[in-house]
Symmetry: C2
């Protein structure tokens, strides 16, 4: 399987992107097409031992920066790395694309380049949030704000398939993120969405989920609009980091005996850190576009890129796009809205 | 100062409520009026040493249960503990009221019983969320969903005063919870609210705050609607608990050496737990009603109740309601909307 990797536009690009791609090529025996500034990329490749690996470079002369307007930039910069990488998937040169550049630009490149699956109005980002047993898929975690109930319904169908086919959760429990358990709780959006989710045949809807259900792992897929999802995702990143910092500070400021002990607890702390580390999950698929597009955190390092490539391989091998197409049809939701 | 304490309607009522009130009467030398089932409350009082303390009981024959419709229940049950306790403040028999019963019922009782401060359309719940340096005030954390921009503006003014006069934060940094730093980011609500907040003279508005800014403590007051706030609050409770659980499990499952060490690290863990423990903050004021109404978590134990009474005393001593009245007038926002 050949994967297109956007090597540009993120905090540690291109070096960490290239290093992650090398690791993935070695570990998963996949072909990699690195897209971006050829000279820069080759400089990094030459510094590493890539004998026997199937890695090539496709030059792209432009980069979309974080501050640019996503839609306008994607339309204007035809030779931007993310645009070129996406075209490789459209043209069936590659099976999937990975990008750690501007999320907005990624969404725009995927929408323009790959188009939407029939029946899907808006693609959504599905991010696994570590919980006490594994992970809960949160979607939408930032592709759209001001979503309508029908968009949340589409998210629920897609998120359930992603949890099943990529995260390996059988019959995933799908919940509507809300402020109470009862069907009568919530804002206008949630109240209108609940009965629609209840009618679906292809998902295991368990009703409303509250914020605490995510880390407690009592729900596998949580549906909300991209505003709420993005706030929760960033809050969770911040809180996990802050708690580890607090724990370190607390140990530091206590007596010598505790300090010694803390050195011995270090392995436990490291295991914990790994469990809540987003890099382990690698990337979040943009669900609803007609192809595999994996979005990585802007500050992804090699490990996250490598894991994102693993997600892309599993996503493609398990035919998630085809399953989405099937279930949208089974639900009789093939008509797009007029927007 | 005399405080009315709703002794009924929460998970550990009336016992833990009464015990918390006894501790507060001792520690803060305040007068306590316990409102609820006289017989039950007196039974608990008799089991404790309350000599020299100023604690009385006011009988109320009804309780509003968690599942009842708040507005209807408050209107119907005139002798419900939370209604009677609120009336004591309205009649100036007490300076403040504390309740750990149904949040919705508390909000309804306060609205009907105390009324709103002129210029405030909707009262909001201001909850301190522990961060790396202290706490960030999150509001609204659940009184209203589908808020309008003007409601967020009122929240910002009130939250800033609460942070200053109760949490002791000088010139608190106020942020609008959003999905990006730039003024152009966000949903319709956020985009409409930003320019209104920018115009305010009585707060120190620092622009948009993202989810991660709350635990990192880079903002002191964060404004959002009650749907988003409630999701974040509950997620934060769940995540903090899950992380401590994970750490304990990880230590448990590692070798003997680490197990021994973990016993020695226990004091550090306890300190950490205390830092992130909501009970330390006690309660969240309902800002915008014409009086002091402190809402406690439904599963509050004695410590949380005691601390909530401390918050009520500080809130009243520091004249937060008067400051809100002043600043709403200074901003020229005295006209209520028509709802």
């Amino acid at each position: 399987m050949r994967i297109a990797v956007d090597a540009m536009g993120s905090d540690y690009a291109p070096e960490q992107i290239v290093l992650g791609a090398i690791e993935a090529a070695r570990e998963y025996c996949c072909e990699i097409l690195l897209v971006g500034d050829q000279e820069e990329i080759e400089k990094i490749l030459h510094k590493n031992d890539i004998r026997g690996l199937n890695i090539r470079v496709q030059h792209a002369s432009e980069v979309i920066e974080m501050h640019e307007h996503p839609g306008a930039a994607v339309r204007k910069k035809k030779d931007a790395s993310v645009v070129v990488a996406t075209k490789l998937v459209k043209d069936r040169e590659c099976a999937a694309v990975i990008s750690a550049g501007s999320t907005g630009a990624g969404v725009a490149a995927a929408l323009f380049g790959l188009g939407r699956i029939k029946g899907i109005d808006r693609p959504t980002i599905a991010t696994p949030i570590p919980n006490i047993n594994g992970a809960t898929v949160l979607l939408d975690s930032g592709a759209n704000v001001d979503s309508k109930p029908r968009h949340l319904v589409q998210s629920a169908i897609m998120g359930s398939l992603y949890a099943e086919y990529v995260l390996g959760i059988k019959n995933p429990r799908v919940g509507l993120l809300n402020i109470g358990e009862e069907e009568t709780k919530g804002n206008e959006q949630a109240l209108a969405t609940y009965p629609l989710l209840k009618q679906l045949k292809t998902i295991h809807f368990i009703g409303n989920a509250e914020g605490r259900d995510i880390p407690r792992g009592t729900v596998d897929v949580v549906v909300c609009d991209g505003f709420v999802g993005n706030v929760v995702l960033k809050f969770s990143e911040g809180l996990a980091g802050a708690m580890l910092q607090l724990l370190k500070d607390t140990i530091k400021s206590s007596g010598l005996l505790t300090k010694l002990a803390s050195l011995m607890v270090l392995p436990a702390l490291k295991t914990l850190k790994k469990k809540i580390d987003y890099a382990e999950y690698g990337g979040a698929p943009l669900l609803g576009v007609d192809g595999c597009f994996i979005i990585c955190h802007g500050s992804s390092k090699a490990k996250a890129i490598k894991n994102a490539i693993r997600v892309a391989i599993e996503f493609t091998d398990n035919k998630v796009v085809e399953h989405i197409r099937e279930n949208i049809a089974k639900e009789g939701l093939l008509t797009n809205d007029s927007e």
